[in-house]
Amino acid sequence: MQNYLIKQARVVDPANNFDAVADVLALNGQIAKVAQNIERKDAVIIDGKGLLCAPGFVDLHAHLREPGYEGKETIASGSRGAAKGGYTTICMMPNTNPAMDNGYALGVAQKIIEQDALVNVKIIGAITKERKGAELTNFAELKAAGAAALSDDGSPLESQTLMKEALLKAAKTGLPVTSHAEDLKLAGKGVMNDGFISSKLGLAGMSNESEWKAVEREIDLARQTKTPLHFCHISTKEACELIRKAKKEGLKITAEAAPHHFTLTQSECESFSGNAKMNPPLRAAADVEAVKQALKDGALDAIATDHAPHAPHEKEVEFELAMFGIIGLETAFALSHSALVESGLIDVKKLIELMSLNPARIFNLKAGTLTEGAPADIALVDLNEEWVYSQEEILSASRNSPYIGRKLKGRVKHVLCGGKLIFKDGRINE
């Protein structure tokens, strides 16, 4: 196996509270050393001058669509988009077809991952059979088949009794549970955030309440069961506050936010572009601010993409008919860095904590750090490079991004995954 020596990069590793210019040596797929002036004859040198060198990013929330919806995305295409975005570990949601609800299904997906994935892909198992919200899956079987966590993403469990039972059983198997907190009755037929804008556009709205009511209920379940619970894609100021309080109370709650929820507002919907349609919807400016603050003060723990590819014919339609979702793997770092670091809200170390370390910890993954002996998962980023995100450069099989055509700052240059240089000079390296 090729060894690599990264020279003179700004190495940021929050797990070791490290932020300094240094060299990083990757031997046999592992981090061997982080120090000044490392010399090593049998290693290929990567010039890290002017680049940020961080543990590869970890995404707790990606929809890779395979098996079942290969027209939207495949494990091959999704993992290439991930590499381009600096991600070395991504966790795929179970809403495939068939759903990831039994050991056999996970086994089939694992085979595809082994063959096609360019980065580490972890599978999140379904909480209920066929994701129907009626009958729990066999958590032990899912764990044995390699599930990293359990989730009801996309089709929230309406039955609290069932959710409670799921939390207790999952705690026993040691699998983290992630919750898509949405009150479906309150959300109704909503297609965007509820407010004056939805009213003037003549579109049905989804209120903040449809999120925070569900968050409130599930926090209560976590309290009753004394089990850990992770919230997906938090988008409202009220939910941020509820989670902040729950943490103060000592509950084992964690939560993530998606870059679109802290970089865009509901006004994107005014163009009626299907690319502005997602669930949870883009919210008001006050919510965007609250999410940013929550990421800063620790109420929210991680940045996750909620990468949700859809084919053009599912997006280039009437707004009300468009599918919910946005692709995010390729743009997450640049967006987060601009919105959080360049704005002066947090420092780079905190950002890497949100994108690498914390997500790895939430799902107990061997990732997210440059500690000696850790897998050599490394992202090298030029924080100053400006680029326009173009439709042609997208590696995902879908192109449903409202950021197309916009200028971004901060570009991933090289990525090592398990010691392999999978992304080199801004291109996939196979």
């Binding site: 003037k200 556009l201 009626f272 014919h313 280039e316």
Partner: protein, 314 residues
């Protein structure tokens, strides 16, 4: 009188997107087009050689006929497409329909759709002019323009007039477009409806809101009566049509307490004896048929101005 500025908008998607000056330009231009319809030869060659397609995803007789007459008076070739019966059933997307029509070198797209924003979406996929003929609950700009034209013709101005809109505001694209147009031109708008069918954020539109019809009509120069559709699901909880008539209909008795010169408008089709009484619909204050006549002139003006912008953009 609008200032002399170049018209640059190739589409008419809604009145929210127009400035007061642009709305006034359309109204002024419509005034000239009204004269064309009084000629023996009611046709001018302005859009000769252009092809318009009337894409109706939702049935509509009066709007479609009005557009078609306007197109023909401008010498524009017209293709009517009843979209319920064609591609939609085969699952073709709006983008693909647009691209296919573009390949047929269509210059003007008139679109009526039951989903909000359909015209906005179509405009992203075609180079020709897109004119919104009503999209879901969003906007119906040409209807509002003809309402405002009629109002201006009667009172010689729009600014400072009190205009009341009565009926199912929440579900009404006519109401939304009227609110944008009237407030931009400086009219005072009052919305009147039972609370259940007032938009949740009605107060943010810069209008007065009430559920008391007599209060809403007091001092009004004009009342625009919207069609009530009791078959809607969300109106099930609502009082019966008879109760609505009693509480909200515009009747002769109510008009007696109003300004004597109040004008009564209705976008049609009317439910006589439901939201409006027959004696009012046919009475001296009614301008409902003049609205229909003015609709031709307004649509001619819109077709003409948007087409002139397309050519410039090439």
């Amino acid at each position: 009188m609008s200032d002399n500025f170049a018209w640059t908008k190739k589409d008419l998607l809604g009145l929210e997107y127009l400035s007061a000056g642009e709305i006034t330009r359309i109204l002024d231009t419509a005034a000239s087009f009204k004269e064309v319809s009084t000629r023996d030869i009611k046709k001018v060659p302005a859009l000769r050689g252009k092809t318009a397609v009337n894409l109706f995803y939702e049935p509509s007789t009066r709007t479609r006929v009005s557009f078609e007459v306007a197109q023909k008076r401008l010498s524009c070739d017209v293709v009517n497409m009843d979209m319920k019966a064609s591609s939609v059933l085969k699952g073709e997307t709006l983008a693909d329909t647009g691209r296919n029509l573009e390949a047929l070198k269509i210059d003007i797209f008139i679109i009526r759709h039951s989903y909000a924003g359909a015209a906005n979406v179509l405009s992203k996929f075609v180079k020709g002019s897109v004119i919104n003929a009503g999209d879901g609950k969003h906007e119906h700009p040409t209807q509002a323009l003809l309402d405002i034209y009629t109002l201006r013709e009667k009172f010689g101005k729009v600014k400072g007039l009190n205009v009341t809109i009565v009926g199912d505001i929440e579900h009404s694209r006519v109401a939304r477009s009227n609110i944008w147009g009237l407030t931009k031109l400086g009219a005072n708008v009052t919305l009147c409806a039972p609370p259940a069918i007032l938009p949740k954020y009605a107060d943010k539109f810069g209008v007065k809101v009430t559920s008391d019809i007599d209060e809403a009509l007091k001092d009004a120069h004009a009342v625009n009566v919207l069609r009530m559709q009791f078959e809607r699901d969300d109106l099930k909880a609502f009082p019966t049509p008879a109760q609505y008539f009693k509480t909200y209909a515009v009747t002769k008795e109510r008009l007696k307490k109003c300004r004597p010169d109040i004008i009564v408008m209705h976008p049609g089709p009317m439910n006589r004896g439901l939201e409006i009484s027959t004696d009012v619909a046919d009475g001296k204050n009614s301008v409902i048929l003049e609205q229909v006549t003015n609709g031709i002139a307004v649509r001619m003006a819109v077709l003409f101005l948007t087409s002139s912008a397309v050519r410039r953009g090439e």
